[in-house]
Symmetry: C2
Subunit: 80 residues, 2 copies
């Protein structure tokens, strides 16, 4: 969770993940897709051959809440 | 190919694809991943629940060339 950066205007959490290979990047994106579907949350994602950037906006209100941090932690667990 | 926008500084091609569902978005991303691997080209991609934005930079030189436009056309064919 400590690797996420909290930004303002608009309020959001951001984290960049880096990988050795495109295959590892795709595997992470696959896990992230499954996690998004099961969580019914679909963050904005940008990626290239060996990186993935995730932007997470508050789910309900204007501010980040526990559910948002928990979702971010869930994403961290996919990075194995 | 006519739906790609050519931009400068840096020179690049961009196109936004929109989908009805997250499932359709994922299916497109899967086809795009396979196409990237077989082409050995890995454009910058950003996506959310129902959209995918692709940014394609020149493969070799400073300017876009036939190989870049052909790669873009190959991506168009994945959008079915």
């Amino acid at each position: 969770m400590d690797k996420w950066v909290e930004r303002k205007r608009p309020v959001r959490l951001e984290r960049r993940f880096e990988f050795e290979t495109y295959e590892a990047t795709r595997d992470f994106l696959d896990r992230l897709g499954d996690f998004s579907e099961s969580s019914e949350r679909f963050p904005d994602i940008s990626f290239g051959k060996t990186y993935v950037n995730i932007t997470l906006r508050p789910e309900v209100q204007e501010d980040l809440c526990m559910a948002d941090y928990q979702f971010a932690e869930g994403i961290d667990e996919l990075f194995i």
